[in-house]
Amino acid sequence: MLIENGKSDKIKMLSNEILTVSKYLDVVNAGLKSVSAKVLGEISGIQEYPGRSYMYYSVKDTKDGSTIKCFMWKNDYKISGVTLREGLEVILTAYPAIYKPNGGLSLQVEQIELVGEGALQLAYERLKKKLESEGLFSSDRKRELKEYPEKIGIITSKSGAVIHDFLSNIGKFGFQIQFVDSKVEGQDAIKDLLSAVATLKKANIDMLVIMRGGGSLESFQAFNNEALVRAVAEFPVPVITGIGHDKDAPLVSLVSDKNVSTPTAVANILNSSWGDALAEVRFAEEKFFSNFQTLLREKQFVVGNAGAEMEGRFNSIFETFRKSEEAMSQALSKIDFVLGGVFKTIERSKKDIEKGFGGLLSQFEEQMVQSVRFIQQQSPEQQLKRGYSIVKIGKMVVRSSKSVQKGDDLEVFLSDGIIEVKAQ
């Protein structure tokens, strides 16, 4: 410190060492860094130097015209989200520094804030319109949150009530929370928030949560910052915001994938799917075990039915077989009976034939006997024995007296001999 206690007029040498101008200015500049302040003034003499990484402008006291030149890196200017114009009243967060090549004192500006509610509102409306026209707030851009998030990145202030509320309400589902402490109030928070987002962008997380409590539009300035809005829009995993507000929603919450207003609501979103999962598991368990039981019962019934069916069919086959057997048996009996009759008939016929034939033979025999007897009776010998005689002339039998003439030699055949006579 060059001035002890800030009030002392007693100049204290840094050391007895003799320094070069350059080294001395380095020491002075290092000391000047510690007198960083928020400076209120009006912008003038803007020099943007296109293509370069820095810019210059001046800030002037509106009352007495006191002026100091300002140096600002364009990256910081971009991050500040404020568009400078001549006469714009701003608050600069800056520290003094001596530019070594010419020894000029200037303010090294780190941050620019707009002054007054009206200016803030105007800037908010303009940026909102611009981002809206780019489609950044479109519902089509919103990404689905991971159903069962486990790795959560959180950005909020370590000291606020927000993180406490969140941790009190988050369920014990084994979340792996990676927390990055960040300022969340005012314009100063922008760089902090951007740095936190950049840190978690590289982390292995399922989703990012950005939270802060309620406050005035002015205190929300960081969450209306264009650079932060774009960083959230481009974040590789879905982002949930839990940023409390009264009237106008901070632009970061409009661009996030899911926005709620309190840390408790964020915790509830993270809890809900896990709670539902347990119910779903129980439902599935009950459902398919009962369905499987039903299936088994159905199949048992089918098997039982099949058994009965088979038994019925077998019985039916056996019954048919039994009937066929019975019919066959009856048929055989019948055939047997018929055959018996046939045999009897044949036997009878045989007997009849034998009998008939025998009778016929006897009859024939009798007839033969009678015929023989008759023939015998009718034979000339028999006739001769009865006293009859046969007269022959030579070999001719004399049947009429007319065939005999006187003197013919006749032979009279008798049963016991021949008498030779002469007709007279």
Binding site: F173, F175, V180, A277, E280, V281, K287, F292, L295, L296
Partner: protein, 68 residues
Amino acid sequence: MKEKTTKKRNLNESLKRLNQIVSWFENDNELDVEKGLELVKEGAEIIKNSKERLKEIENEFTEIKKKI
């Protein structure tokens, strides 16, 4: 092998698989008991693991320093 696969599944996949199993029982008209038994076994394993995962598990809280 199957058991290992089931264990490796995350909760989301497990619930999807459980829903598929429930749908199989509800939609298939000609249900195969053998297949059903297989699915019940698989489902029981998933349920066991899912319930294990859904038990109260302490959260891990790590503060990361900003990288500037």
